[in-house]
């Protein structure tokens, strides 16, 4: 098991952001992480990437516990945060160089060239990040996430704000990466989950409401569409009129 989340909770002040969530993710499979806004998706991802500590429970990535061995977890994870923060003043290659230095990558230049090729940044590689369009910035973010060839990829809404062509490009990239790695990505787009994912985890108000493979989920809900399943799980009839 590449990722094991065991009964994790996160409390912000009075608010329970994540409420005893458990799930697992395996190598070679893509896990879609869904839930309404504010359900606790990003919080869970931040706990997995050792950015914030959990209040209770345990999580491990590639066998390393996030609390006990945060450095090993970070070495094995490629993370694309929500809103894709980047150093806008840097040039594309400079930013990638900086990240590879943080990971002490050998043959840095060779690896940067590979990643630029993989993410289709070729034409934009000599530009400043601030001069790039949103789609290309997203690719830079993704390039930064995969530059150290991590075993696990955690992508927080990687396709928001992209045009259809770019979405197709990024999806293809995620699909290719998913063959050899463990990928968890969050999204609001149902078609994306159906097109890409092997497994689905749905959380609502911090609680886990579904954790199954796509086929299993559809079977369980007697072949309704994923969208209907999502709505019935996260917005039960009567609650919102």
């Amino acid at each position: 098991m590449s990722i094991v989340v065991d009964n994790i909770s996160k409390v912000y002040g009075q608010q329970m952001a994540v409420d005893h969530v458990s799930f697992k993710a395996e190598k070679g499979r893509i896990l879609g992480f869904m839930g309404p806004n504010g359900a606790g998706k990003s919080t869970t991802m931040k706990i997995l990437t050792c950015f914030i500590p959990q209040t209770s429970g345990a999580a491990s990535v590639c066998g390393f516990d996030v609390t006990a061995n945060p450095m090993d977890v970070r070495r094995n994870i490629g993370y694309l945060p929500e809103h894709n923060p980047l150093y806008l003043d840097m040039y594309v290659k400079e930013a990638l160089g900086f990240i590879s230095d943080l990971h002490a990558i050998e043959k840095k230049n060779q690896r940067i060239a590979e990643v630029i090729e993989l993410t289709g940044l070729g034409e934009e590689q000599h530009k400043k990040i601030s001069a790039l369009s949103k789609g290309y910035r997203q690719r830079v973010g993704l390039a930064q996430a995969i530059i150290h060839d991590p075993a696990v990829l955690i992508l927080d809404e990687p396709t928001t704000g992209l045009d259809p062509n770019q979405i197709i490009g990024i999806r293809q990239l995620i699909r290719d990466l998913g063959k050899s790695k463990t990928v968890i990505f969050s999204t609001h787009i149902m078609q994306e989950v159906e097109a890409l994912c092997n497994d689905v985890v749905i959380i609502n108000k911090g609680r886990l409401v579904a954790n199954d493979s796509i086929e299993g989920l559809k079977e369980h809900f007697s072949a309704k569409s994923l969208e209907e399943i999502f709505v019935s799980l996260t917005n039960p009839v009567g609650e919102n009129g």
């Binding site: 931040k46 990437t49 050792c50 950015f51 914030i52 500590p53 450095m71 970070r74 070495r75 994870i77 993370y79 945060p81 809103h83 923060p85 980047l86 150093y87 806008l88 003043d89 900086f98 990240i99 230095d101 943080l102 990971h103 930064q144």
Partner: protein, 242 residues
């Protein structure tokens, strides 16, 4: 740590921050030392650099917060701190990398002032008639002072996401740490513990090093001051609450 250091250090030069702060520091000290009649060495008539060492702390008080205000506040505001914190880096490495980058700029600002020393050395009526021991001591004092102010600045930068707030907090803390304790000790009701209070202030330790006597007590004071502020900074960052 070195990666963070070199990134921030080159950031200072890419964004002109380094050129402007170093430039202003040299212009202001140059004016005070050679042009303004009240503090000019030429008018003063004695071969000494006292006016440099008297004015420099007050310039540092404004320039060092200007250098450091960006370092953590911007990372937090832009969200790039998340980028750093999820890489194999400890919080200490981030804090120290940023701290030394800021301090390196301070050192770079001080090095050209050696020209002032050489000038005074050459201009003395009998050449070389300058108290070199005191100058060396004062430089060490100034380096330590700059190191403390940088630590204060990094701390202030970690408190807020807003650079202006960080700057203001840092200027106030630098001023208070440098001369605030002296002034408070003058309060009538505190007269009987005056020496204790002044010993908290940086000014007293700075003056004592400037005399050319490097006392371990002063050195320990400065180093523990730096360590304290960096420790608070690391703790604030570790809390991830902003």
């Amino acid at each position: 740590m070195f990666t963070i250091f070199s990134k921030d250090f080159s950031d200072f030069f890419n964004s002109l921050v380094a050129y402007i702060t170093i430039g202003i520091f040299l212009i202001v000290t140059g004016l005070f030392l050679w042009v303004f009649p009240e503090s000019s060495i030429l008018d003063y008539g004695y071969a000494g650099l006292e006016s440099l060492f008297n004015i420099a702390p007050y310039i540092f008080m404004f320039l060092i917060p200007a250098i450091t205000m960006r370092s953590l506040a911007e990372e937090k505001k832009e969200g790039t701190f998340e980028l750093l914190a999820t890489r194999p880096l400890t919080d200490w490495q981030i804090v120290l990398g940023k701290y030394f980058a800021a301090f390196a700029i301070v050192v770079l600002a001080l090095i050209p002032t050696l020209i002032y020393y050489i000038s005074v050395y050459q201009l003395g009526v009998t050449r070389g008639n300058i108290d070199s021991g005191a100058v060396v001591g004062s430089y060490i004092g100034l380096f330590l002072l700059g190191a403390c102010f940088s630590a204060i600045g990094i701390f202030a930068s970690s408190v807020s996401r807003n650079q202006i707030i960080s700057f203001s907090i840092a200027v106030f803390l630098c001023f208070f740490a440098f001369s605030g304790f002296d002034s408070i000790s003058q309060l009538l009701s505190l007269q009987n513990i005056e020496t204790i209070i002044t010993s908290f202030g940086m000014n007293q330790h700075y003056q004592s090093i400037s005399r050319g006597v490097l006392d371990t007590r002063d050195l320990i004071y400065f180093l523990s001051f730096i360590a304290l502020f960096l420790l608070i900074t690391k703790t604030i960052l570790g809390g991830r609450k902003w």
